[in-house]
């Protein structure tokens, strides 16, 4: 793995009430690279993003972003750090009461003193990068799923962040939109010289664009490697995940009493 | 929503809101120049203030010239100490009579000032020397009955 890491996670544990969500996570996200975190639903992927963004604090372990410890930050430092991050939420989370243009311009207006003409040019540039410059006057309610996802992308990169995080960007999209979003994620990462973390369970799309993959299951990293490593992997979990097999290390059946026993019990009661 | 239009409607709303407040204050209530006029204070002592309350009016010749602003009990002389706040436009002579009267038959009680003839005027902080206490209905009735009772032996 190349040396200079933007995000360095060492032995991080996170528990919510009594439930342990993440156990002993070790991760390094190198600068300028596109890294995917994959796993089935509920394994803790979104929690990882929240930890990196400082919305949650790990119960133990170290989490460094650009050399600084995120859990140790106070409110002002955290907000300063977040201004250098961009995040795309699972369903876009656009502000529904303002137009597409205002959504993308939001951060520029909040965090900079740039004059309106400059902001206008920047917003149109970002919208152009995602192919939606002509839609800048529309309201979020008038957009399709794919379009609102793209607008949210434009908003996430509004201030040219050093770290971009995507939470399930492919969820619920048609194949064309998925391809578009995937290409955009890759192109923007390279064009901006940024680092990207991609949380998804859409294996095929992700493997086409990423540099490195971490597989998470039940709160632990079970596999990692480049896309070629993953495709060639003999690990049963990876295999089940990549090829979408119904049964494997991730069981098909929810834990239960053996079927015959349950049927017998019913007839006994009846 | 265009910002200018928003500001317009909000400005309209705030303006009529204030108009409502002003309407209540001036036309419904009694906020007038009198409330803000200069005033001075006098004290008066009464044996019995009856039903007089703080904020009750002080009238002279039936016109409101001030308000009762304080009512206290003097434990040495066992009488009531009433503070009157009078509009500075009106001066009263030193031998003015202050009595507690009732507006109408069963109305609220107020202080009536009967101006005397003295050349010297009451100064701020002065005590009104001549006072007449409120008429207490029970005493009036018992007096009436006493008079009636003392009448009958002769009438027999």
């Amino acid at each position: 793995m190349p040396a200079d890491s933007l995000v360095k996670i060492t032995d991080v544990n996170f528990a919510y009430d009594d439930r342990s969500i993440l156990k002993g996570i070790d991760m390094e996200i190198p600068r300028g690279k596109l890294v995917a975190i994959m796993g089935n639903s509920g394994c803790g992927k979104t929690t990882l993003l929240r930890l990196i963004g400082g919305q949650l604090k790990p119960t133990s372990g170290e989490l460094l972003v650009d050399g600084q410890s995120v859990p140790a930050m106070k409110h002002d430092e955290l907000y300063a750090m977040r201004r250098r991050m961009g995040m795309l939420f699972q369903f876009g989370a656009l502000f529904t009461d303002i137009s597409v243009f205002d959504n993308v311009a939001y951060l520029m207006r909040e965090h900079t003193d740039l004059p309106e003409e400059v902001i206008r040019d920047m917003v149109l540039m970002k919208l152009n990068a995602v192919g939606l410059r002509g839609a800048h006057h529309l309201m979020p309610a008038e957009l399709s799923g794919g379009m609102s996802r793209r607008v949210a992308l434009a908003r996430a990169i509004a201030l040219d962040p050093m770290l971009i995080m995507y939470d399930e960007p492919f969820a619920g999209l048609d194949p064309i939109s998925m391809g578009v979003i995937g290409q955009l994620i890759r192109k923007l990462n390279d064009a901006l010289g940024a680092t990207t973390i991609l949380v998804t369970h859409d294996v095929q799309e992700a493997l086409l664009i990423v540099d490195y993959v971490y597989f998470v299951s039940d709160g632990q990293i079970v596999a990692q490697g480049t896309p070629e490593d993953i495709r060639a992997s003999a690990d049963p979990f990876v295999h089940q995940f990549v090829f979408g097999e119904a049964d494997g290390p991730v069981h098909f059946h929810y834990p239960a009493v053996p079927f015959e026993q349950e049927l017998m019990r019913e007839t006994a009661n009846a | 929503m265009n910002r200018k239009l928003l500001d317009l409607w909000v400005g309209f709303f705030v303006a009529i809101g204030f108009a409502g407040v002003l309407f209540l204050a001036l036309r419904v209530g009694n906020l007038s120049s009198a409330n803000f006029a200069e005033t001075y204070q006098l004290t008066a002592k009464f044996d019995n203030i009856g039903g007089l309350k703080v904020r009750g009016p002080v009238k002279s010749a039936g016109v409101v010239v001030g308000r009762v602003t304080d009512i206290r009990f003097d434990p040495q002389a066992y009488e009531a100490l009433v503070t009157l706040t009078i509009d500075s436009r009106y001066q009263f002579p030193k031998d003015t009579f202050a009595s507690i009267l009732t507006a109408g038959l069963l109305g609220e009680q107020y202080i009536g000032l009967d101006a005397g003839g003295d050349e010297k005027m009451l100064k701020p902080g002065d005590v009104v020397a001549k006072t007449q206490s409120a008429v207490v209905l029970e005493k009036l009735i018992s007096q009436f009955m006493f008079n009636k009772a003392s009448e009958t032996p002769d009438g027999k």
Partner: protein, 268 residues
Amino acid sequence: MLNGAFSAVIELVRSAGHRMNNALQTLGFAARFFMMILMYSGQSFRRLHLTIREIYFVGFQSLLIILVSGLFIGMVLGMQGYETLQRYGSSEALGVLVALSLTRELGPVVSALLFASRAGSSITAEIGLMKATEQLTAMDMMAVNPIARVVAPRFWGGVISMPLLAALFSAVGVFGGYLIGVVLIGVDEGAFWSQMQGSVDFRFDVWNGIVKSFVFGAAVSLIAVFEGYDAVPTAEGVSASIKRTVVYSALAILALDFVLTSFMFRGN
């Protein structure tokens, strides 16, 4: 058998204690939330257009219901008041009755109740929905403080709008009483206004009414923004929060009215 009854009682006590615990926790969080709103209110006034926008949606758009209700209540007061007063030959005191009832009590209280059900519920819905669609989280991640940007302007919008609405309610109500009493029934117009002016003291009645409506405005706005912010981020969660806003606001208004009235009109 006794064992069963005993454990049922224990269970009852435990669940009551648990609910009390929850209630106290929520109360504590609400108090902290209120402090945070006050702390982060700077932006609401430095960027006034945020608050102005809220005054529009919360205050201006409540005008219709406030004015119409005020008019009707004033007219009813006129009718009922006349009916009772004329039995004692005091029908000229109608103006006094209508004005005092409105400025002291009905104006602040009824307009606050209407405000809670119209504006309060829409504030809760807005904030709750923003929470459910992750907009608040998105804001937080973009280093924009959601309390400063979303919650505080709505709170101050409510606090500013409430006294204005209450004053308009009372003013329109007095006019309604005038319509019924003087125009329809025939009470003497001069007596109506002059007796009213003689008995309604600005400092005492009108001002106290304004103070009450400020307090009610703060209470209703706080409850509305809190319930929205604290909502469970689902459709049922938001609608449960809206219901709570309306109910708790009504209770708070009436309880505060009792407390304030006993302070203000004591011994008079």
